[in-house]
Symmetry: C2
Subunit: 408 residues, 2 copies
Amino acid sequence: MQSFIEEEEKTYEVVPFTWPKGYKADGVYVGLRKNPEKKDMGWLYSEVPAQAAGTYTTNQFQAAPTKLTKQTINKEHLLQGIVMNTANANSVTGKQGMIDALQMQAWAAEKMAVDSDLVGVASTGVIGEPLPMNLIKKGVDKLQLLDNFYVTEAVLTTDKHTKTISTQIELDGQTVTISGFCKGSGMIHPKMATMLGFVVTDAKIADGALQGMLSQEVDSTFNQITVDGDTSTNDMVVTMANGLAGNEPIENDDSANAQTFLNAYNAVLTQLAQDIAADGEGSTKLVEVNVENAANHADAQKVAKAVVGSNLVKAAIFGEDANWGRIIAAIGQTNAQVDVDHTSVWLNDLPLVTDSHSADFDEAVMKQTLSENKITILVDLHSGNATGQAWGCDLTYNYVRINATYRS
Amino acid sequence: MQSFIEEEEKTYEVVPFTWPKGYKADGVYVGLRKNPEKKDMGWLYSEVPAQAAGTYTTNQFQAAPTKLTKQTINKEHLLQGIVMNTANANSVTGKQGMIDALQMQAWAAEKMAVDSDLVGVASTGVIGEPLPMNLIKKGVDKLQLLDNFYVTEAVLTTDKHTKTISTQIELDGQTVTISGFCKGSGMIHPKMATMLGFVVTDAKIADGALQGMLSQEVDSTFNQITVDGDTSTNDMVVTMANGLAGNEPIENDDSANAQTFLNAYNAVLTQLAQDIAADGEGSTKLVEVNVENAANHADAQKVAKAVVGSNLVKAAIFGEDANWGRIIAAIGQTNAQVDVDHTSVWLNDLPLVTDSHSADFDEAVMKQTLSENKITILVDLHSGNATGQAWGCDLTYNYVRINATYRS
């Protein structure tokens, strides 16, 4: 997996994927998916109760497991485990859906030997079908507390591969590990939340600080990706911090320790968000849009997301066609402050539009750079000095194929 | 061309396409398009100055011809002609773009022997390339004041066919004709305007009433269609009413004459809007979404447009898959008031979701109805008694193909 993180800003080390101190996990196949080669149920466990924080979909049809996890975390902001399944979202399943989510939570808690109020539940897959509880029971019976990474496979749907990252920092002489994994790859247009994302750390976080850290970092990472403009009913990101690294408690403030932690934490969220965008359904290219000289940060974020979310821009990138009028049209659709006579655009650092006129570019050179598997679009709005960033992917025949036949 | 207008509400007659009294037109090929079989420049003319109204794109990068037509109409709300071209949008072309639009207007006005201030200009096609003025001049030289309908071809881009409709009503013993034509078929997500649409009538409209009539009818017609969520830089709808039918002036009020006129006028706009949706780039099906029992009209319109605009819903319809979770997810993404426990959905009148649970439907029957070329989705929000409507199309391989290779 290619790393898209810039080298120069690192105050942390990206290490091979590993669980932080005190975490166990497992993943199994129980028959929820058709392919027995793929895991479809898993869990994650901390030896001690961990501080927990979450962000959740704003879709009004919030799925039962998403609601339940939110309620659970909001009780004491503590979790000791999360149980997960794919292939069935347990969403729009009425009262039975909540009963099933509670049952799944209870079974997992019993097997982990912890209180139900310390266990989150996450489901993803088809909406509107009842959760097959016999398979869920079978899964809990099979799951063990191990050191493997199968849980990172057990949450995937149309994803082509797992999405994982671990970073390490030194705090107070202790090694602190932050590990995250997530799934995409359609119905991706997070609003104050995202698809399933899990970030666990052994860092000791000061009481009450974790939720603020998660919320602020999600805004500039998961909330800035889009695959298809559709917001799922099951989106959530959950973070657990069990404190076993032994560092002094980290506040959400300007201290050196907090900044070091947040830097590494942001890198984990950014990498996972980019991984989702790069592996968007049917995608062949990751698209990153950077906006600069915006009137304010909100404008910059809005324009970045509008460009990366435009079907026409996405199809042109798939076709490797430097059709910049579509980028300009996408910018102009927003209500962001735009200097319509002095907007400039670069594509992989090559000038494409200069002061709202076609830059004198060589079509062959553009075609060549568009054949790369990461496309970076830089937009200068000439309206201030704020910046923003968003990620997405191209729109391809395969996106249509996957979504025309999703249930078959 | 199939008519989607319901039979029972007609207070007007749909007649074979014709120009209303006093209108002349023409369309020619000058080399803007590659295929010499297709017209690429045209115009429309009224023997007497006609009252005029327009609605225009809200894209911040408004094209020169769109700006110029808006300025021209806003002077005295009168037009006598409109000159049009396809294959080049004269958009994001800087100062030269406005100079070229003014020149095109002046040449057409001179040939029509009317004042420049009475001539609108409309361009569509690729963004960002200078208008080839030698070809525009050649076109104006060739255009004549005739009774043919070639102008309805001369505005098309990726459209598969022309989009035209004529209705007739009787007012004060006089026959009044309302004729409209338009083009699609990508970058369609009108906001307070639409792609190019032209509606001409010989009705006599009271001074100052036409703009209000157009604006109110566009809101529930053109503004409720989406093909791909992208708003063009060149969108506009222009209406001309030259009064030659001889009826008494129609006010925009509750009078019988006004209601008869507005009914027929709305039918023209509705048919054109549906034609654009049905002929959306790559589409194989027209999708109509009707929302009922919403808390208010704005909520109903918002939900209708969210469902019809969802890439996932569109791809599922292309795949003829009754994947209703995507419809529910699209509804829940809006901030409309939704009774999340009592939302129901019908597909071509067959129950799909009842009170937020899967209706006990037969997959084979659903598959059969999804093979039709018009798909109607009815959503009951259980939150009030307001209704709304929107139109779109499915998302297909051909949409991707067309837009991956648009400039080639």
